[in-house]
């Protein structure tokens, strides 16, 4: 089943993105994965994982670049039927220090890139009978955690995007879900203050931070095996 699938993965060289890439390729999926700055990491992943892992250099802040990439992919004989967005920018910065440029950059990568991709991909998925979208959202969109405002709003915006798209395209065979991620051992969580991580470990049900592999397994399940879940936030966050 997975052998015939082609995924577009945003943020394939990131902490979670790499784990997703490895798992999907191991399950026989062809994956076009994007990167911006980590060209060496992208080359190494492609070399390690073989022809099923196809890197694409792209600046997700630029809608025209995203549309150009999608145009190329949709012209292929086996275009993507799966879109996974693991590209997330975020650092804990206090409200007064968030510049307009930083605000725009975070929203463009965390929200607009997925919007632009879905705008092109979902009609194409629907035209061929369906597909799956899995978007990542960090726990910062949830109330119990302290969070940088500009980042939190990008995370709740992506939830709104996913839920709206699930409604608009559900009748045409496209499922859209969100995986809500708690603090992990690395990646975006590396920037979190130690006391915050200690609070999380004390207050969450599972009592520890997570790993990228744990998130990747949930994403792969929703992407490849789910048939009836859509428009949902799937909480892979340790039980906060």
């Amino acid at each position: 089943m997975s052998d015939s699938r082609h995924a577009l993965l945003f943020g394939g060289t990131g902490h979670v993105g790499q784990a997703v890439l490895r798992l999907l390729v191991a399950r026989g999926v062809r994956v076009t994965f994007t990167y911006r700055r980590k060209a060496a990491a992208a080359r190494e992943l492609a070399a390690e994982l073989g022809p099923r892992a196809m890197p694409a250099a792209i600046d997700l802040r630029a809608p025209a670049a995203i549309r150009a990439l999608l145009g190329d992919l949709l012209a292929e004989p086996e275009p993507p039927d799966l879109f996974i967005d693991c590209a997330t920018l975020g650092r804990p910065i206090a409200l007064p220090e968030v510049s307009d440029d930083l605000y725009d950059e975070v929203q463009s990568v965390n929200v607009r890139a997925a919007f632009v991709a879905c705008q092109t991909l979902l009609p194409a998925f629907a035209a061929r009978g369906g597909g799956d979208v899995v978007l990542l959202t960090y726990l910062d969109g949830a109330r119990p955690t302290p969070m940088p405002a500009h980042f939190a709003l990008s995370q709740t915006a992506i939830i709104g995007l996913g839920q709206a798209l699930a409604k608009e395209y559900g009748g045409r065979g496209v499922r859209v879900n969100l995986v809500q991620v708690g603090p992990l051992q690395d990646g975006v969580a590396r920037e979190l203050p130690i006391p915050l991580l200690a609070d999380f470990e004390r207050l969450s049900a599972i009592g520890r931070v997570g790993t990228a592999d744990e998130v990747a397994r949930a994403i792969a399940f929703l992407a490849l095996e789910n048939s009836y879940l859509t428009g949902q936030v799937f909480p892979v966050q340790g039980g906060l």
Binding site: G170, T211, R217, F221
Partner: protein, 255 residues
């Protein structure tokens, strides 16, 4: 796209020791069979429908599954203890408990007798409490375990539910969250799964107009199947799902 794709690779729950309450028919049977297909050993309880239970047992055995079947009420604490003691003696422990047994009395509040209220809360809330309590002893000893509570509140956003039933499922979801926090530190995960309306089971008993209403309102435009709910449940209790606890998943086609 209604049938869930086959899971990749090796069996998801090889020889896992699983207990399902209310396993004789409908979702309970589908859960038992999905667990068996994932390589698990399956025990289930039922209360009255012996012929259905035997059918489930036969279906499990056809899959090559080691099945154990227990007759009794989930509201009976002694029954819960005896079932779990039997499994500990036979299998050495319990890895997975799925609290599935539930009753549904379609009554408006003014016609709901206290007996209806008590029976609904007893089966749907006290039952999961008794079976969770019984299973926690071996799970705590093992430092591992998965409890999955089948709730059914997903439907309440588009459909009227009997108040006692809705209250019982709300309580079960609250219990899920509280128990997850209590036992998470011992390696035990507790989650809830809220299926939407399915073609079979409770969904089949509803008037076609209500079913059509559901199709119109739900994103995917169709009712679910017991097989896809059961396949999802198997992943939730599998060793692949390690960083989720206290969650309630609305598997409803997108309400």
């Amino acid at each position: 796209m209604s049938a869930p794709p086959d899971p990749p690779g090796p069996p998801r729950l090889p020889l896992a020791r699983c207990l399902v309450t209310g396993g004789s028919r409908n979702l309970g049977r589908a859960l038992c069979l999905a667990l068996a297909r994932a390589g698990a050993r399956v025990a289930f309880t039922y209360q009255r429908r012996t012929a259905d239970a035997e059918e489930t047992r036969a279906a499990l055995e056809r899959l090559g599954c080691e099945a154990r079947v227990f007759q009794g009420a989930v509201t009976d604490g002694d029954h819960a203890r005896k079932v779990v003691a039997d499994l500990v003696a036979a299998w050495g422990g319990v890895d997975v408990l799925i609290n599935n047994a539930a009753i549904f009395r379609p009554l408006p509040t003014v016609l709901t007798e206290e007996e209806d209220w008590d029976a609904t809360l007893d089966v749907n809330v006290k039952g999961p409490y008794l079976f969770s309590r019984a299973c926690l002893a071996p799970m705590l000893r093992a430092g591992a375990g998965q409890i999955l509570n089948i709730a059914a509140c997903a439907v309440d956003r588009v459909s009227e539910l009997p108040v006692a039933f809705a209250a019982s499922k709300g309580a079960l979801i609250a219990m899920t969250s509280a128990l997850a926090r209590e036992v998470g530190r011992y390696g035990i995960r507790v989650n809830a799964l809220s299926p939407g309306l399915c073609e079979e089971g409770m969904g089949a008993r509803l008037h076609e107009a209500r079913r059509e209403d559901y199709r119109r309102l739900v994103s995917l435009g169709r009712l679910g199947t017991l097989q896809e709910i059961a396949a999802f449940a198997v992943w939730l209790v599998s060793p692949e799902n390690t960083f989720m606890s206290g969650a309630n998943i609305n598997l409803d086609g997108g309400l």
